[in-house]
Symmetry: C2
Subunit: 189 residues, 2 copies
């Protein structure tokens, strides 16, 4: 599991073996079965989580009991609840494995130390946040600009394999449309 992480780090920046040892010392390896939770609403999130294998989804349940998928997080992406992480408040989201998954957790305090010890890691994580910001911004823009059909088209471009990995109704939820509507959109292609 750590090998995947090391390969990822070296694709994004360059980390020496000694530096990676520092990471290894604090990294927690966790295996999750499908439908197992990484985080439940109300808990406090204190990690940085890197998905080595599998697929996580972040979702929220509204007053009417309806689920809304905020994010899909496949292998080689980071997940977590940034709001809870920063503020120390209870999480408002659930993060659940939707496939059997392998995740590396780095406790918050250790991340802070590592970012000082390994400046390149710090830089990488900053870049990551910037890019996440931009992709969220693109998503907002897509939401206010496009029709349901166009949004689905965009989604397929950005996540080409996701439609094979998660059920349709979760994609609909991610896009903010009803599953029936998405089904009909697909039918007419």
């Amino acid at each position: 599991m750590l090998e995947v992480f090391k390969r990822y780090l070296n694709s994004k920046t360059s980390i020496s073996d000694e530096e990676f040892e520092l990471i290894r010392e604090v990294a927690i390896e966790r295996k999750l079965r499908k439908r197992q939770y990484l985080l439940q609403e109300g808990d406090i999130w204190k990690y940085d989580a890197f998905v080595c294998k599998g697929l996580m989804r972040t979702y929220k349940v509204d007053d009417k009991g309806q689920e809304h998928v905020l994010q899909f997080c496949p292998e080689n992406w980071w997940t977590g609840d940034r709001q809870s992480y920063i503020s120390g408040e209870p999480a408002r989201y659930n993060i659940e494995a939707y496939e059997d998954s392998e995740v590396i957790l780095i406790p918050k305090q250790d991340t802070a130390k590592l970012r000082i010890q390994i400046p390149k890691l710090n830089e990488m994580m900053y870049d990551l946040l910037e890019r996440s910001f931009i992709s969220l911004q693109n998503r907002v823009q897509s939401n206010i600009t496009h029709t349901a059909e166009e949004k689905y088209g965009q989604f397929l471009k950005i996540y080409p394999d996701m439609s094979n990995r998660v059920p349709l109704h979760m994609i609909a939820s991610f896009l903010g449309i009803s599953p029936e509507t998405l089904s009909r959109i697909r039918a007419k292609k």
Copy 2:
């Protein structure tokens, strides 16, 4: 204009007079009249921009010539096109003053130096990005969860004074609904 900026910085962190001098040396003060552009689509954005006074809006024009407002940026907020800033690609957005405004521009290279010279500034800008990320995430969540009416309610909570400062049709555009629909939503309260 720089006084406003200094006050802002000291509300977010603490910057000594000597440190602020470093900022002053590179800061560019710019006054903009209503309808004047800070950035036009196609240009390359190379600054960090802090709004001391007035109101900026970031928008995009789609294929059909329709404007879509991505962001309102009143005094004491930062604006810019992060995508263009990072990648060096031409901006896809326009940033326009919607009131007579005063903006401080710090050129990209100078920001980089300042962030090294003034660690607290660096920290502050990181926190800022994190918080911007979270608020965008909340906006996405609101987009996929709520009806037009609920979204408008949320908007009023987050930007209580904005409805006095910008025309209704721009708020509609920001929310991704038609001006007529927003007008009707308001009428039935």
